[in-house]
Symmetry: C2
């Protein structure tokens, strides 16, 4: 049976950096070819970065992408990679509009181009806004094997290009992806990849981006399924990786170009391109590397959050981070994430005590800094708050909020002085119910735990400390920050549960309402207390403006409070019955 | 020829307020029927409000819409309107998903329902995300005339339901719309309506929403075109209105239900429903009201901005407004808009002088308040700024920004104390180039002139003053605020043009880059200076995060810096050549 050494390049592209991404593709292809790869596959839109959003609509950007693609083909040949077949995802534009494309590069030329057929238009995806769907199916015969390509969503929908390729016949299917991380996504992704391999009757080479772009984290997790649906190779999550597989598969010798699988849609136009009709001489395959151990649930979430924060900082030119160390659990977890993402020396914690701050909040904050080995300073806000209070005669909510805002102004001033990225440390539960001060604790460029419910914040803290202990390191998070009752400390003896239901209950109701899209009646049917449900739903429905003003943050669920959850601000709909 | 008295109800719906919108529909139908209307037509999604965004995906919301629609049919009959035919836009959900629907209500029943076919998915529109496209064409015979319905985008695309209805034959075409205002949109809208009437060979009853929803303003401008493409009746812009027209048109006596106009798409299924086969006895038509005078360009923009601000405040429960009166042109125009929108007694201006504030900025601010007759107070920020400066040892940009932020904290404290809506007074030019302080002058719930370029701000000021003079009123805006050189006054003797190109040039380049989507080469080809273009493009490309954090504001162009212009924050694409 024909053999083929394939390499999946699980790389971290930057949106808009066409030249940089091109240089990266060249570099990784060189490494792959040096190890004898015959076929090298890069992820979806790797040349432009993903997702490009409205940049896709700029003609000059599409033109730059196409020009760079053609130059890249030449550079690959010049670098001695012209004998390999390289699959590169890129943007281009033709008479029908922008295309989400993947091209085969070989011998200094762009030899064939596929246009993504199924364009996802839900959740974080707006591809129907940007791209025209493709109907052309190039199949390249390469060292005796017929290689077809589809892109990401094409394998998430039934019928379409995978079914068409299965019908006309391919020996190998490659699939470049820009598939964002979500909790437990592998429960869907792995059976999908193996199922489509079986459907097409061919091994599936699934390669995904890694790294973060704004709110999205791409977790990698590239994999190879054989035609029987068995995972034979797999890359780790959250790390760049070059995944080699030696295929040894039967050649079908397919010649059909006729396909008619999807009535009501344009038929697919099959293009068969013969680059190398004959199999390679037999060679000794690489030893099969063991499949990586799957990450535990908290380890996977932690990896996503670290990646999200690290790439947001670095890709936006920030080398250092600051935010308020309150002594509470949220800022402690953010600090541990920041230290893991950028190193403790990049982290500049600030304690911002007010007259309502407890002794333990000050000592827990300084203990956190000590455990992490990060920079730390104390900036009391009493004097600033006093001027506002006196001049404006503040009382009640106004007096509470001015404390959070004095902290926000202080952190932004330190950011302006020293170039730090400011983090907002709010969690998903707070955001859901609007338990934060706009222009106060909501100040910042990035919100690392914005999509993490409060109960999961605690779980992550315990997990991270236990990991440290396993490794013989100092657990980063003070035990007292985990165990004490959470408080905003904006008035004397305040605790969160004065205002909010217990977090264990609140998080379950929020999960049903937000993630599950359950209505009031559905929630009651699940046995939750009517008064509690009413209270929670009203809080959520009224906090849309606050959420809108919150900084972006790493998304770990399908329904993060991010840019993709589109709700009107002016909205009189109340789920709750009168 | 059969006669028919039609009434187009140009109303202001509220998103999510299904019960309130239903009561409004009942009320306006009563008024129309009292004047003898036989057919009453409401705008697109009037029952749910428009646009509902991700609310469309909530099953409980769709169910509430459908239930209210059926109740409304009963209420209309109970109110003595059961003999009229009423067309109501509403959300519903079936096995294919949510639908953007319009139903014919008559005799206490929902007699037929149309589903929007063309779903716009560009600019502010995301309808492919929400709705399944329809393929059913109900045609109702009513007093001898065959009445067909299409919705909004259906008339903006060639082919599809309008062509199909033209082919099978209708006597009258009704078109409910949620068509947002844009500058000069009537140049497209009017010929479109008249052209489709000619294409269908039938009068077109075009009814649009009026009022604002978040960043969108619906300007009304409902109109009737006869089958020859002549506008025979028209409602004013920016006002609720009931537009009566007595039709007297030939009955085609159409019976065909066969249509095959759009190969490659599902064929339309024509449903002919006979409610009243015979023409009405002849009656005396109402006198034709004169067509309203078209508004001048500045009057139209002003109307949009006043409507946007008024509805944002009222629909979000704000009765009063506050913001900083700087003495400059932006805050002066915002003040005049606020006074026009909510009345001068609702406006609480605050002068927030710093040590760098000029004497004229203080006197211009108080003169503005006097001219408007609004509330006014002075809150110097020197003492607050001094504490931050001293404690944090601020210099340079950090010292400049802390002034803007002390103002932001002060205004938010006043908002917390008194319940005012805070306005951010930045204009489109500033937003484009990032000339604002995040958490400083960007503080607020709404930004009325966010989509107004600086040069248009001046033009609006002059126009508004001239209007006042025409009416014998005090011109609201101090002459000095219009004529003096703009300055942020964050350091001594600072003026905007220290940092920015002259606004006349800047606005033209920005218009090309943002609105025209021109690339670097295109802009040079238009003869603009290369250095200037490079500088402007770099400023724009780097200000995405700031724009994202800015409050929402009324949109008057296709490419406002609003929620619909979707650009990555992390974006390494630079249009400028090295």
């Amino acid at each position: 049976m024909p053999q083929l050494r394939t390499a999946l390049a699980q790389v971290n592209a930057s949106v808009g950096d066409v030249a940089g991404n091109s240089a990266m593709i060249l570099d990784w292809t060189r490494k792959a070819v040096a190890e004898g790869a015959h076929l090298v596959v890069f992820p979806e839109l790797v040349l432009s970065g993903y997702p490009v959003e409205d940049l896709a609509l700029r003609k000059s950007f599409a033109a730059a992408n196409r020009a760079e693609l053609e130059e890249l083909a030449g550079k690959l040949r010049a670098a001695g990679c012209g004998d390999a077949l390289v699959v590169v995802g890129h943007l281009e534009r033709d008479d029908s509009g922008p295309r989400n494309a993947a091209s085969f590069l070989h011998g200094g030329e762009v030899v064939a181009t596929y246009h993504k057929h199924y364009l996802p238009n839900y959740g974080v995806f707006d591809e129907a806004r940007y791209f025209a769907p493709g109907s052309r199916l190039p199949i390249v015969r390469w060292h005796g094997l017929d290689i077809g390509v589809v892109i990401c969503e094409d394998i998430w929908q039934n019928g379409g290009p995978v079914a068409a390729l299965g019908e006309v016949g391919v020996d190998v299917l490659v699939c470049p992806n820009g598939s964002p991380y979500e909790r437990a996504k592998d429960d869907q992704r792995t059976p999908l990849v193996t199922g489509r391999a079986v459907e097409a009757g061919a091994p599936m080479l699934y390669v995904n981006l890694v790294g973060a772009q704004d709110e999205l984290v791409f977790d990698g997790d590239s994999m190879v399924s054989d035609a029987e649906g068995r995972i034979v190779a797999r890359a780790p999550q959250f790390a760049e990786h070059l995944l080699f597989t030696d295929l040894d598969v039967p050649a079908g010798g397919y010649t059909s170009t006729t396909v008619e699988v999807d009535p009501g849609r344009p038929a697919f136009e099959v293009q068969r391109i013969v680059l190398a009709p004959d199999p390679l001489p037999g060679y000794e395959p690489l030893p099969e590397p063991p499949l990586p151990e799957p990450l535990s649930e908290p380890a996977e979430v932690w990896g996503a959050l670290v990646t999200g924060l690290r790439d947001y900082a670095h890709k936006n030119g920030f080398r250092t981070i600051t935010f308020g160390f309150s002594g509470g659990i949220d800022s402690a977890v953010c600090a541990a994430l920041a230290a893991d993402a950028l190193g403790p020396d990049a982290l500049h914690g600030v304690s911002l005590p007010s007259t309502h701050s407890s002794e333990h909040s000050r000592s827990d904050a300084s203990e956190l800094a000590e455990r992490l080995g990060c920079h730390f300073q104390v900036q009391p806000i009493a004097e600033m708050v006093e001027v506002f209070d006196r001049q404006l005669e503040l009382t009640g909510l106004a007096a509470e909020n001015v404390q959070a805002r004095a902290r926000g102004v202080t952190l932004m001033a330190l950011s302006n002085l020293h170039g730090h990225l400011v983090l907002a440390t709010g969690n998903k539960t707070e955001l859901a119910v609007g338990y934060s001060t706009i222009y106060g604790d909501a100040v910042g460029g990035f919100a690392p735990i914005k999509d993490v419910p409060k109960t999961l914040v605690w779980e992550l803290a315990r997990w991270r400390n236990a990991e440290a202990e396993k490794r013989g390191e100092v657990p980063p998070i003070p035990e007292n920050s985990i165990s004490k009752a959470p408080s905003a400390e904006l008035r004397p003896d305040q605790v969160d549960q004065d205002t909010l239901p217990p977090y264990e209950i609140l998080d379950v109701v929020l999960d049903g309402y937000v993630e599950g899209d359950l209505g009031y009646a559905d929630l009651l049917a699940r046995g939750y207390d009517a008064e509690l449900v009413e209270r929670v739903l009203q809080l959520v429905d009224r906090a849309e403006y606050k959420r809108r003003q919150y900084p972006p943050g790493t998304k770990i669920t399908f329904k993060a409070f991010g840019r993709d959850r589109r709700l009107p601000i002016t909205n009189r709909w109340r789920e709750v019955k009168p």
